[in-house]
């Protein structure tokens, strides 16, 4: 454990250096990333394929830019989430092309069940829209995506593999040289190796958070953290556990804080995503973007041209996926549904939601509890006045903004109005908008602080023998400080 943490710390330092070098993303130097093979997380009892996977995970020479690998957006020291702070990562031939969705944490991803849909209710699958049938099918795609590693096809990936001596040698040792003559099969093998690494390496599922040690009886949660967990579980307050179960489920012997279901929660449109702009251009060089997919199922009279509708498009399963899930472009009831993510390490993985619209957990929680009562939204029939007993967050302004920063005409503005009925309005913490006069949010500002302090206990890397060494991100420290001030005031 200590050795692994040392390696992660070294990697984090490397990444920090690269960020300060102006790349706008972590990674970019595969040789540095894998400089110490003997001390890599993949060393030990893992399979040769997993060791190859570790090598490929960090090999930037397989990208057209030569500056991007899996590790660029899935940084080991940051729970395999991005550290660039961007809503969507940059990639492409010269690292100037913005992506479409926020890069998620890969930690615990291997515990995701396969995609299923029963009675219109979807579960599992990989990517935020479940369009990849397996971890390997997912790992294959970034190699050949125009705004990521940007290879034209499998053949181009394999030609780059053949020019990356270390990766090539390990690949041949595991899969033989013959398969290189079939680039598509060889790319699938590469993806299998990466999936093996993500599955076998303990750093992808350490279960080393303070919460885990508390469950094991080896540490105590503070009273504020306990209160946060209670609010998290309370079906009339946070009700977070309804989709992010704090209880063990069938997928693991540990609570995973996701039930892997899909939901449409009507998150606001994020104008920091280039694809959302009327005329999408690169934020790096201003060049027009030509790869923005427009879903065919978007009604013609919609407010905007591009919408990311999750399960029902515009991204669809790859033709090379051996077990593709159905295409749901005609199933408009699923439009806007995205997979529930784990909340483990959530304090590390800002910005939040599939479009990275919120920068902090505080914003996320405030939005959750005021989504349907914010009186700055034009189509809310029952605005709640600000003030005692009313909406305490009105001063923060509407979360649903138009491109110019003013309140948008419609709530749920990242969905065509025709699909508004798909938004989940039937569960706490969404305050029922149908009540005359509405009602107060289910969480106060103090409650939100308590929940954030609890969420911070889901950060891996706790050592019960050295609790003071638990490195929590800044927003956690702020929440802890706020809660202690609040309790002192009490």
């Amino acid at each position: 454990m200590a050795k692994r943490q040392t390696v992660f710390a070294a990697l984090a330092l490397l990444c920090t250096g690269i960020i300060s070098g102006g790349l706008g993303g972590c990674g970019g130097d595969s040789e540095a990333r894998v400089a110490e093979p003997g001390s890599s997380p993949a060393a030990g009892s893992e399979s040769p394929a997993a060791k190859l996977g570790f090598q490929l995970f960090g090999d930037t020479s397989l990208s057209v830019s030569g500056r991007q690998a899996c590790v660029t957006c899935h940084v080991p020291s940051n729970a395999y989430a991005a550290t660039d702070g961007l809503s969507v990562p940059l990639g492409g031939p010269d690292m100037s092309l913005p992506g479409l969705r926020n890069a998620p944490s890969l930690r615990y991803a291997s515990l995701t069940p396969p995609f299923t849909i029963v009675a219109g209710s979807a579960t599992g699958g990989f990517f935020r829209d479940g369009r990849a049938s397996s971890l390997a099918a997912q790992a294959e795609q970034p190699f050949v995506t125009a705004f990521e590693m940007a290879n034209q096809n499998a053949a181009e990936v394999i030609s780059r593999l053949q020019n990356s001596p270390k990766s090539l040698a390990q690949f041949i040792a595991v899969y033989g040289a013959d398969v290189l003559n079939d680039p598509e099969a060889a790319l699938q093998d590469m993806a299998q190796a990466i999936a093996a690494y993500e599955t076998e390496d303990p750093s992808f599922h350490p279960f080393s958070s303070k919460f885990d040690f508390w469950l094991a009886g080896e540490t105590q949660l503070t009273s504020v953290e306990q209160r946060g967990l209670a609010l998290f579980n309370d079906p009339s307050r946070g009700n977070c556990t309804a989709c992010h179960p704090s209880q063990r489920q069938g997928y693991s012997e540990h609570p995973l804080f996701t039930d892997f279901t899909y939901d449409n929660i009507g998150v606001p449109r994020n104008w920091k995503i280039a694809a959302n702009l009327p005329h999408p251009v690169s934020p790096v060089n201003g060049a027009a973007l030509t790869y923005i997919p427009i879903a065919a199922n978007i009604p013609a009279d919609s407010e905007y041209t591009y919408y990311d509708l999750g399960l029902c498009g515009p991204l669809e399963p790859a033709a090379t996926d051996p077990h593709p899930r159905p295409v749901f472009s005609d199933t408009t009831s699923l439009c806007g549904q995205f997979k529930v993510p784990t909340l483990r390490n959530i304090a590390l993985t800002a910005p939040y939601f599939h479009n990275g619209v919120f920068g902090t957990l505080e914003e996320v929680l405030e939005w959750y509890v005021t989504r349907d009562i914010n009186n700055n939204v034009g189509n809310n029939p029952n605005p709640v006045p600000a003030g005692p007993g009313g909406n305490p967050y009105v001063a923060a302004g509407s979360f649903y903004l138009a491109a110019d920063g003013t309140a948008d005409r419609f709530e749920y503005n990242d969905l065509p109005v025709e699909f508004d009925a798909n938004v989940n309005v039937g569960e706490v913490p969404y305050t029922p908008p149908t009540f005359a006069g509405g009602q107060a949010p289910t969480l106060t500002a103090d409650d939100i602080t308590a929940i954030i302090t609890f969420l911070c206990t889901l950060t891996d890397g706790f050592d019960p023998d050295h609790p003071d060494a638990y490195a929590l991100p800044e927003q956690c420290q702020a929440a802890v400080a706020a809660s202690s001030q609040s309790s002192m005031a009490d």
Partner: protein, 490 residues
């Protein structure tokens, strides 16, 4: 029943005659009127002969029924006597747990040792303050099969369909409620093994609708004693000469890992839900011998004094170590949980009165750590739960096989009398979503109540009963309701 048989036979025959006439009139091939007339005459004669044969058969059946009734009304052997029966009508009907009645005629076929029986009940329940939750339910349709291997050995079984339709998409269940072999070791001692009904309270072993007052079973013997409570195991039973019936056994136990700490919505929003949804401590954890965890066994003892005609006084106790919630990996082995359930009951039937009372108390040990893992849960596991009732019924009218008996019952139940590890369940307040159905808002109920029940049973002979009652809930006032019921038992 008998009076109804003749008219129905007549109707049948008349219909048959009409049908025959209709067929004849429609026959175009017959042109000779005389031939047609003769044919009709022959048919009428045949039908008259058939009618006579049916009448003869009916007479024979009547005689046989009277003989059988006389046999059944005779006191059963002491070892098989279960309890003073509630009514004269019930006395004439074989209790499912008793030895099947001996065939009236000398055995001439192996089928003569077979007994087939059944019962069922239909409810109409109308919550007065929540009329939208009115329901109509074929609550249970049950059939039983018994077989008498010899004078001392029998098999008995009971199969139940709850809520009419059992499939993946329906709410019903199909279940085995009893399945055991009973053998008399002597005239006063028997042994029973298989899936057996627990000899607890006044209702569990005698749960047919003709055996209890009120449309539904009382709450104490539903929520505290989880009727119909059965376990897998073996028991010895018998009765002393002075009327003390005893029953002791070793059985399967409950499984705490079935507990749901995180119901997002209330598990019941009506009194009918409360009875049906397996929410009470033992209902939620009983295993019903469905791949039951068997690493621990429980033991019980039940005593009943039947020595004074019209009086029954008894008590019973159950104790066992429970299959428990799995601990997290690396966690210290948690303390064992033990369940103790005990109850005491009395029933006295002076003249036309039928007076009964019961107290039941359950306790589960060492729940602090398990509950503490789930702060904020609306449904922690209680450390104790209890209930009691008193009931007075009076046969106001009894004539020609019909009987009318009004009754009143007062009861108190508390499914969470005390807790460890938490102060109690979080009971959400205010109007909140109470189901996944859009717009279904309501209030979470409390886990205890005091209930008055006023009603009447109207018996149409020994096998049929019509019921009506009104239940007034003092705490969860929304549960107050009118009920109509139809029950049968043969």
């Amino acid at each position: 029943m008998k009076t109804q048989t003749k008219p129905s036979l007549r109707v049948l025959l008349a219909l048959a005659a009409l049908g025959a006439a209709g067929v004849s009139q429609a026959d175009p091939a017959t042109s000779d009127a005389d031939a047609r007339e003769q044919k009709l005459e022959r048919r009428v004669e045949e039908l008259a002969q058939e009618l006579q044969a049916v009448q003869t058969e009916l007479q024979a059946l009547k005689t046989q029924n009277q003989a059988t009734a006389a046999t059944r009304a005779a006191p059963p052997p002491p070892a098989q006597q279960q309890q003073p029966v509630q009514t004269a009508e019930v006395a004439a009907s074989p209790a499912p747990t008793a030895v099947p009645a001996a065939p009236a005629a000398p055995a001439s076929s192996p089928l003569d040792n077979l007994s087939l029986w059944g019962y069922g009940e239909v409810y109409y329940t109308h919550p007065t303050q929540e009329p939208k939750r009115t329901e109509f339910d074929l609550a249970r349709a049950v059939f039983g099969i018994g077989y008498k291997f010899d004078e001392r050995t029998l098999f008995n079984s009971e199969y139940e369909i709850e809520h009419a339709v059992s499939s993946a998409n329906d709410v019903g269940e199909f279940e085995v409620e009893q399945f055991y072999i009973d053998r008399l070791l002597s005239d006063q001692v028997g042994v029973r093994a298989g899936l057996i009904l627990m000899p607890f309270g006044l209702l569990n072993e005698f749960h047919e609708p003709t055996n209890f007052y009120g449309v539904q079973r009382n709450f104490v013997e539903t929520l505290i004693i989880p009727s119909t409570w059965r376990e897998g195991g073996a028991a010895l039973h018998g009765e002393t000469e002075f009327g003390l019936a005893w029953n002791a056994g070793i059985t399967s136990d409950q499984d705490l890992s079935k507990w749901n700490f995180a119901p997002e919505f209330p598990q019941y929003v009506t009194a009918l839900d409360l009875e049906d949804n397996d929410v009470a401590p033992l209902q939620a954890t009983h295993q019903e011998l469905a791949l039951a965890k068997g690493q621990h066994l429980a033991q019980y003892l039940a005593l009943n004094y039947n020595g004074v005609p019209g009086l029954k006084v008894g008590a019973s106790i159950f104790n066992g170590k429970l299959a428990t919630v799995p601990a997290p990996p690396n966690a210290p082995v948690p303390d064992d949980q033990h369940l103790t359930l005990w109850e005491a009951h009395a029933r006295w039937m002076p003249g036309n009165f039928d007076i009964s009372a019961l107290y039941a108390h359950g306790a589960i040990t060492n729940l602090a750590a398990i509950n503490a893992e789930n702060p904020g849960s609306p449904n922690p596991i209680p450390s104790s739960f209890l209930g009691y009732y008193g009931q007075v019924a009076y046969t106001a009218w009894n004539r020609g096989g019909y009987r009318f008996a009004p009754f009143v019952r007062w009861e108190h139940y508390n499914m969470g009398a005390s807790y460890e590890g938490v102060s109690g369940p979080v009971v959400p307040t205010g109007l909140v979503p109470v189901s996944a159905a859009p717009g279904d808002y309501g209030y979470w109920p409390q886990r205890f109540d005091r209930v008055w029940t006023f009603g009447a049973n109207y018996y149409l002979g020994p096998h049929l009963v019509l019921k009506v009652d009104y239940q007034s809930f003092q705490v969860n006032t929304d549960f107050s309701r009118y009920d109509l019921g139809l029950g049968l038992n043969f």
